[in-house]
């Protein structure tokens, strides 16, 4: 899988620039508009959403709470208020529907940084790989959950670049930009997609949370694949594509079922043949039930 310097040129030629970037644009719009919603209060005095990603209050009625942070807090021995419990139930329900790592690709501000690092890496043709094991992030996750039990304090939240960047933008950054620059340089020069793909325990948490989530990317038109490899180049978790895209012979369905897929939709963008589309995990069932390799069920998807 040699990295191409520019992925998606075929797609731009076939579909036009806008169609070849539509999910990327939507994702950036989502990430930025969430930030803007939180910033309207302090900057313009328009208090639609208060707080930050750890816990927020929308229009004084809708509480939302980050399950990973709240879990750490509960493990340190806290009984949360009702608003936090309601907030966490809503958030969990949402990610069970749309996919846990949608948090990573559609909400998390660090994603913009690491995507930029990955993009620059491709542009500059940097090939360095000192990759950690894929399981590292789960060890990190374990650490973030054990430390509150042992120390009685939210140790991870002293370092967590995800909450620190978002909180920094909304409340004031301090020296947190050093961490963010560190992650950028780490992803750029040391490990490809190293932070989001190997280390980040927040992403690990959300991938476990959404392991059985409903909305999925489906390689519905996988037989039209012309092996251009563009999807593998842009995908931040490229190991998730292969079973769905190339598994037809082994009887594997076209749905990308890996919990690590972030539902970012970039594969849909860069595919000149429109192989991928958003669907649900139940698209696989339809394939198996009808005994067909071709999946018609995915046609009615989002």
């Amino acid at each position: 899988m040699a990295d191409k310097l520019v992925a998606g040129t075929d797609a731009i030629a076939a579909k036009g620039w806008f169609k070849a970037h539509q999910w990327l644009i939507l994702r950036r719009a989502s990430q930025l508009s969430i930030l803007v919603l939180f910033l309207l209060g302090p900057l313009a005095g328009l208090w639609i959403v208060k707080g930050n990603l750890a816990a927020s209050m929308t229009l004084d009625v809708l509480p939302l709470t980050d399950p990973h942070v709240l879990l750490q807090s509960v493990l340190s021995g806290v009984v949360p208020e009702l608003s936090a419990i309601v907030g966490v139930v809503i958030v969990i329900a949402f990610y069970l529907l749309v996919g846990g790592r949608v948090y990573c690709s559609w909400v998390c501000p660090v994603n913009i940084v690491t995507d930029a690092a990955a993009w620059l890496r491709r542009k500059l043709g940097i090939k360095t790989t000192s990759q950690m094991a894929k399981s590292t992030r789960y060890w990190m996750l374990g650490l973030t959950l054990v430390l509150p039990i042992v120390t009685g304090s939210l140790v991870w939240e002293l370092f967590n670049p995800v909450s620190m960047l978002f909180r920094g933008i909304v409340f004031g950054m301090g020296m947190a930009w050093i961490l963010i620059v560190g992650i950028f340089l780490f992803d750029l020069f040391i490990a490809k997609n190293g932070w989001c793909g190997r280390l980040c325990p927040v992403g690990a948490f959300y991938s476990l949370l959404g392991a059985g989530s409903a909305i999925r990317i489906v390689a519905a038109e996988r037989e039209s694949c012309n092996d251009c490899m563009d999807c593998f180049v842009v995908c931040p978790e490229k190991q998730v594509i292969k079973p769905a895209l190339k598994g037809a012979d082994k009887g594997i369905g076209p749905v990308i079922l890996s919990a690590n897929c972030t539902n970012c939709g970039r594969c849909i963008d860069v595919c000149a043949k429109d192989v991928f589309q958003f669907g649900t995990r139940f698209n696989n069932l339809m394939v198996n039930a009808s005994g067909k390799q071709r999946d018609d069920g995915a046609q009615h998807s989002v």
Binding site: G41, W47, K50, G51, N52, A54, A55, S56, M57, P63, T65, D66, V69, L70, Q72, S73, S76, G77, V78, V79, P80, E81, S83, A84, G87, L143, V146, L147, P148, V150, T151, G152, S153, L154, V155, W156, E157, L158, F159, S163, M164, R167, G168, V170, F171, G172, M173, G174, M175, A176, I178, L179
Partner: protein, 258 residues
């Protein structure tokens, strides 16, 4: 690595003496486990006096605090910061702001406090939201001038909430009265200590052989009240004059006394 994080955390979590937690904050160790760093208390403070610790600050990243000298707590009756807290890091059991114990005001420097120089100030006493209870003025003889009183502010920990309004109001360049976290400000008597007079009160009687009442050898018409007014000179009219106008009375009394 976990150990490393843990050790760093211990260091990063030592709250600097001047940073005060919002009302209802759990004891620091529990607070650091309970606070999820969401900043909702900061947002719901109508006076906008709370800040969140940032990386590089001495306060644990993302946790709320205030500095009394610049932004003291205004002690809202409805305590919106506590209501906003989703995790009880700010204890929702706190419903009366006067029960808050954010810290404790301490008159740290008698050498510069102008009340101790015998000047009239009383700004801390007057600004105190629990006026007269958290800070009282104790009158004391001014030895320097010999004829004035000193009006000394004295903080009482049973009423002081640690809001810090006194520290902000202190007229000195550097405040002579400061709010510290309670564990820094408050002494603690050894647990084996018993104060005799309190034990006596509790038991209703002296627990040891009672003291012999002290007799003062004072001239006639003068009494000494040890635990009250001190030296009492009876008014002229009620005094039996040492030398009555009739010399015979004097002579007769002298004989009776003996």
């Amino acid at each position: 690595m976990g150990m490393g994080l843990g050790f760093y955390a211990k260091q990063a979590e030592s709250l600097p003496a001047m940073a005060i937690r919002p009302p209802g904050a759990l004891p620091e160790e529990e607070f650091l486990g309970a606070c999820i760093r969401c900043g909702l208390c900061v947002r719901d403070c109508p006076y906008d006096m709370l800040s969140l610790g940032q990386l590089g600050d001495q306060v644990a990243t993302g946790t709320p605090y205030f500095y009394a000298r610049t932004d003291p707590c205004e002690m809202c009756e409805d305590i919106p910061c506590v209501v906003a807290c989703p995790t009880n890091a700010l204890d929702h059991g706190l419903t009366n702001i006067n029960d808050a114990r954010m810290g404790l005001a301490v008159l740290v420097d008698q050498e510069t406090c102008i009340a101790f120089q015998g000047l009239r100030c009383e700004v801390c006493f007057n600004i105190c939201p629990i006026r007269g209870k958290a800070i009282s003025l104790e009158y004391e003889h001014n030895v320097r001038s010999g004829k004035h009183a000193r009006f000394l502010p004295v903080v009482h920990s049973d009423a002081c909430t640690g809001c810090g309004l006194c520290e902000k109001a202190c007229i000195l360049e550097e405040a002579a009265i400061k709010v510290f976290p309670t564990h820094l400000a408050k002494g603690e008597l050894g647990r084996h200590y018993r104060l005799g007079w309190k034990e006596k009160e509790k038991a209703g009687k002296s627990l040891v052989t009672p003291d012999v009442e002290h007799k003062y050898n004072l001239p006639e018409g003068v009494r000494y009240d040890l635990q009250g007014k001190g030296l009492i000179v009876e008014p002229e009219g009620q005094q039996t004059k040492p030398f009555p106008s009739n010399p015979l009375d004097r002579l007769n009394r002298g004989l009776e006394d003996q």
